[in-house]
Symmetry: C2
Subunit: 579 residues, 2 copies
Amino acid sequence: MTSDALTSYVATFVDGLVSSGIADVVISPGSRSTPLALTMAECDELNVYTNIDERSAAFFALGIAKAKQHPVVLLCTSGTAAANYFPAIVEAHYSRVPLVVVTADRPHELREVGAPQAIDQVNLYGKYAKWFVDVAIPESSVEALRYIKQVAKRAVHVAERGGQGVTHVNFPLREPLLPNLAEVHNFFEERREERKKVSERIGSQADVAYVEQLLERAEKPLFICGQQISKEGSREIVALADMLNIPILADPLSNIRTNKLVQGVVMDSYDTFLKNERVAEELAPDLIVRFGGMPVSKTTLKFITNYAPENFIMVDHTLDWRDPTGTITDVIVSHEEFLCRSLREQCENITFSKNWLSKWMNVQNITSDLLQQAMDNTEELDEGKVVVELQKALPEQSLLFVGNSMPIRDVDTFLRKSSKSLDVLANRGANGIDGVVSAALGASTTYHHSVLLIGDVSFYHDLNGLLAAHLNGLNLTVVLVNNDGGGIFSFLPQAKEEKHFELLFGTPLGIDFSNAVKAYHGSFHKASNWADFRHYLEESFRTKGVTVIEIETVRTKNVETHRSMWKDIEDVLNEEKEK
Amino acid sequence: MTSDALTSYVATFVDGLVSSGIADVVISPGSRSTPLALTMAECDELNVYTNIDERSAAFFALGIAKAKQHPVVLLCTSGTAAANYFPAIVEAHYSRVPLVVVTADRPHELREVGAPQAIDQVNLYGKYAKWFVDVAIPESSVEALRYIKQVAKRAVHVAERGGQGVTHVNFPLREPLLPNLAEVHNFFEERREERKKVSERIGSQADVAYVEQLLERAEKPLFICGQQISKEGSREIVALADMLNIPILADPLSNIRTNKLVQGVVMDSYDTFLKNERVAEELAPDLIVRFGGMPVSKTTLKFITNYAPENFIMVDHTLDWRDPTGTITDVIVSHEEFLCRSLREQCENITFSKNWLSKWMNVQNITSDLLQQAMDNTEELDEGKVVVELQKALPEQSLLFVGNSMPIRDVDTFLRKSSKSLDVLANRGANGIDGVVSAALGASTTYHHSVLLIGDVSFYHDLNGLLAAHLNGLNLTVVLVNNDGGGIFSFLPQAKEEKHFELLFGTPLGIDFSNAVKAYHGSFHKASNWADFRHYLEESFRTKGVTVIEIETVRTKNVETHRSMWKDIEDVLNEEKEK
């Protein structure tokens, strides 16, 4: 569709609703909702009902949805029109009837400025909407269309699953409000076959059968595992992947990378080898099943976005729809343990060509070896090598708590898969650098040996948190990578803009941490070389209280080392391809 | 500035902050906030402080603001960074310290999809922010820049006046995050003189002096009066305008158009004559003072937007900033009565040329006469003429309650200024067509004679409301203009799109209202000509309970009549110009 933003955005939204199984829409007349109303009326597969009084309209839609046991869409204009839906929405909430409420709204510049017929519609129905979204103003970019399609699917999905109820999509629209109906018509014709592929699964056995069917059709399946996977879940995922020869991208926080169960199917170096475009292209999957939260690796995010397969399933415990790439095609609400065990019982006749797995293992092995070599050859103090040294030195069953920003990325790159169990934890809900010391101390209460790997800015941010160790008699080894400022900013585009850089981003702290640590009754050591480091680390495991081991690095040098290592690996992988 | 959206939008925002008197900004380092941080650092007039821990940063800003008694800006990145501001924000709220909190945020497509470092920042500080706005994604259109400039001014304004406190601007930003600093630099240089014009008024006498000074400098001042002006206020506004020869655009809901006080300075036909571009250009003011809510007239809105003067003051009881045109330059929080009385005492030496007022009175008189003639010549039933007939027939001190959509627009066009007092009311908070019957019945409780002028769709919407009249012994004359559907849509662009038009917009109701009215114990009459209409109207004033007088009109004919009348008037005004 080569049309204007309004036409393509609204048509894609309506297409998304119908693709998700919507067949009925109840429209109340209005001006601001014109583009949505016209586009819905243009879609042959939709039964369009009109009802002037929005209060009646909503109860009418409720009646259809109750009778059909299937979500119905409501559409009205901005202002009190939307408020008239409220009684029926409350009824739908308590009687668990699935409704997708679409309200047109004024664009941002006409909100709360006394514009006519504009009320604050954000979260208008409060807790009575299971999900509310105030969508972006229409645009025609690929990303915008992907986004609005996902909004439509999610609105229907959330309304009909996990306790049926109401979802509310608030739709800001600018004038002019007339879509190009001829283009809408052609678009709907082109997409007709696609829309028929509506999946009508309800219930968990249907989910299992659905994934089994996708696996049967696939030739190049891939599993991706992030944080928040239970130990039982990770056991079942690995067993299933091992049985079927499916490669797993195992995030360091996934419970799969450093675990007794670890197998050949587990990949740990993908953040490095998927940077190589030729490798990535060759490893493009035709089915992805993602478990747990988003992985740390940005390279993987890019890989998923660029090579999004036709079927991309997310298995999650809730319908939170955690997919910033906008490429998932379906969400399965299930515990990963239950789903994978059931699949293992039912997929006995499926096997994938060893060739597919071999391709992955080949680059994985080369890359892993090269990373190992690079670290073996590093004599000076280096942020990456700290991870390698820690993995060697930490006793079985220890806790490795990882700070955000650079440390978690280094752990993703340098923590090798290993049957020596380590629990790797980090605050990856909102990825803040704040509160990390306190969170690590909290976690340390259930481990024999606990190490926190953290940068200086983040350590400073929660320096106060150290007091709790003294007051509560806790033991923690803090490995403080001190590059005197915000190291991650040297990897970002603003590093090229030298003006204001140190003031705004580098922010050298110039703190002598030894004094601060003493203030909180901790031990402090500065390691000048790796022998020192190993020594202090060993010693800390035998010492009560907090031990801080500082390693001084240089921000600019760190960027150079990382980049030159990645470049070297890229070259080797390219040579490998050309053989 | 011919730059990209990010650069111009962010620079305009920062320029708006500084123009409003901001001198200090406390920045915590982060990635998402990069464009704002760099642009602020580039502005010579800003003292930039950096503070890594956002909790400390916010208290640091609080300290500056306390000491200076002047708003300070805080800037941080997305995620928990913003949550760290909370303790200081709560303190600022209770100790009334003005802070403008600016938080960078992910764009809409990365919200609530599990994207890293993205939390829900909408209304993050709840009631502790006096004003919260989630601004639009950067754009470089004139409207977008006007919008973001107003946001900046409003954020500072609201923080420092009417009980000092915290305002929160949430700023979604897309990658790439680097503005063009060279362009920012040039833009700030060009605007340097403008930024110096910071007004430092505090207190109401300073406001009076400020408006006096603007009046002294003006040559072509204009008053605009909307709804929500008190009777005392309208008396003082008219007296001031009359003393100084300032024309007043008097909305029908302003308490000024149909009022004993009415004077030559009061204009009632502007919605018609300002449609003429040549007239509008000649009447462009160099100062506007607006009182009350937005006027009904869309033509006036366009006039204000196209000819926005250098100084455009809004006088309002609160800082709600009701200006959808984005062209006001200052808000004065004052009761209009107090402000105008003070000005009348202090402006005795100011007089404006009669020539300016004469220009207005000239087109006003011509237009008013032509509207009157057009109605005098109309024999058949017509939606405009109903207003003229009502104004003639209604006794002094009556209530005219007006439905939304077409009736209020017809009242704006056809209700003449007159010393016969009428109270004209309408639901213009959110302009809904719902609940109008009930609202009119409520209002009728304090009048001897009450008339509701309403269309059929709106009447149907609250038909149930009629029961209250019977139960509570209320008297109301309902003049029902029945054009069998939504008449206003025939004036909108979708009328050209015939496909689906009647289904979605025309929505003919096909209701026989006589039966419905009987059901609620009311009297019903259908007027077939004006003599009938006058007769039934007179009779209704002597009848208890609800009387509904139906006038049947034709939607398409109504559009034609309105348009041809406006065309005729435009022609006469053009001839007048050419004389």
